[in-house]
């Protein structure tokens, strides 16, 4: 069953900051939800293929290789919280190519 430790790890993975109060509340809810979804184990699915796409015959369409700058830079930068010299600005990140 999901414990507080695991929930904190999930917060990190999801990049979500919860307040103490939120964490207590969410932990209970998540535990209840996870308990309820356990009912799926009643079903025998050993020889069943997982479904990823509902329409079986669907194939990914292929697009012709033509380019278009659909999003102008001014609009993009206008929406950005912090920018500098045409780039988005974030706190320094460790170099990792």
């Amino acid at each position: 069953m999901l414990n507080e430790e695991e929930l904190k790890a999930l917060e990190k993975l999801s990049r979500l900051r919860l307040t103490e109060g939120e964490r207590v509340h969410l932990l209970k809810n998540l535990q209840n939800i996870l308990a309820s979804v356990k009912s799926l184990s009643e079903l025998d699915t050993e020889h069943v293929e997982p479904c990823s796409h509902v329409l079986e015959e669907m194939q990914a369409p292929l697009r012709e290789d033509e380019s278009e700058r659909t999003y102008p830079r001014e609009l993009f930068l206008k929406a950005a919280p912090e920018k500098i010299a045409g780039m988005l600005k974030v706190p320094p990140v460790i170099k990792e190519e």
């Binding site: 796409h53 990914a60 697009r63 278009e68 988005l88 190519e97």
Partner: protein, 483 residues
Amino acid sequence: MSHYEGYEPVIGLEIHAQLNTRSLMFGRAPNQFGDEPNVNLDFLNTGQPGALPVINKEAVKKAVFFGLAIEADINLISLFDRKSYFYPDCPLNFQITQFYKPIIVGGEITTEVEGETKLFRIHHAHLENDAGKLIHFPDFTGVDFNRSGAPLLEIVSEPCMHSPKDASAYAQAIKAILEYIDSSECNMQEGHFRMDANISVRKKGESGLRPKTEIKNMNSFFNMELAIESEIQRQIEFYENNPGKKLISGTYRFDLERRKTILMRSKESADDYRYFPEPDLPPLVLTKKFIEELREELPELPRAKFKRYVEVLGLSHYSADLLVNDKPLCKDFEEGLKIAKNPKAFCNWLTVEFIGLIKESGKTLKEIGIDTKQIAELANLVEEGVITGRIAKSVASDMLKSPGKPPALIVKENPDYQPLRDTSLIEEIVDRVLALNAPSIADYKNGRDKALQYLIGQVMKECKGKATPGLTRDILIKKIEAL
């Protein structure tokens, strides 16, 4: 490999090749380098809500070309998956990749490694989208999404290499193929061709694989060889000093200044990628007809060309390998071949003389303004006996000083280059040389051919190389026998 002290390195390479399509892998923004930051944008490569991916047909074609070139299996049905991780250069905070069922499976590549022919196997190759670019400043990091979403073909080898030279040769052979099939510009400075190595060592004869480390950020073949060698040594030292202990996996980057691999992050702190099928993309389905039509379009591939150069043209393995792995140079060679009388000789002039002469300048022949057809002409002049090889060397330097000037003209304009046709003049010089070199005459008469070579050399020196070796030799022999 005795310096590996009874250990065997096991190396696998992951190569990310950026495909040279006009638009991105899943979006329509232009796929090009060098523009101002954030001008090549669409809604998907900037992670806007409501944006959806649509697969670029040309990227698929280029991937198939690669699969055909390495004789791999092409999956007629392949799938896309989401790979989740948070990073500022990742606009969706997930990458669309092919984790469960890639488009290309298996495949092999044959190439020369220090004179030995080796076969390397590929595990698979898959399509995915590239991330944006981070530009690091002291107080902040800038993010540029121009490259974000570019199509990548990730080529994963089997762990079948056992030395830095193996890895380097493999990588160069992959690069050659990509260039030949025009799938990637492979310009490492522009980030078109990135190599990551996975390295482990084990005792010779050991069957399993020990923990491996990953090395990133190797931006040249030479640096990769250094990095791999450094890491092999580090691992051997670890095992020698810590018998029975297990190496901790991690990701390293190669520090060129310190000439060693530096830990970036250990395995434990890596994110869980939570791969799952990309719901916005149904399966990629290809028909046999589509594949066969692409097969028809394949150009001559590096290995086939190598074989042709060696078996038909008679080039050495070394020369053939050099040419085959350098597509632009090879193209020039093929141009010159059209008029060259002796392919092997022409090859030598091109790859040894000329390339050797310009090596220091760092430029290509094209940049200097030399047309390879003219190099072929020069080779032909020697072949036809119009000038000697020695003179030709001088002509070569002159050609570099006056790029574009045909060799025949250079020869015509310089009296020193005119071959000595006047046999009487040669005979005079021969007489003089013979008079001064009695011991050599005696040696030759005793069966030492080397003495004759020496005498020829002396004559050539006297007449400043203008007499052809063949003619000189004939006259010398005639005169010696007459003595």
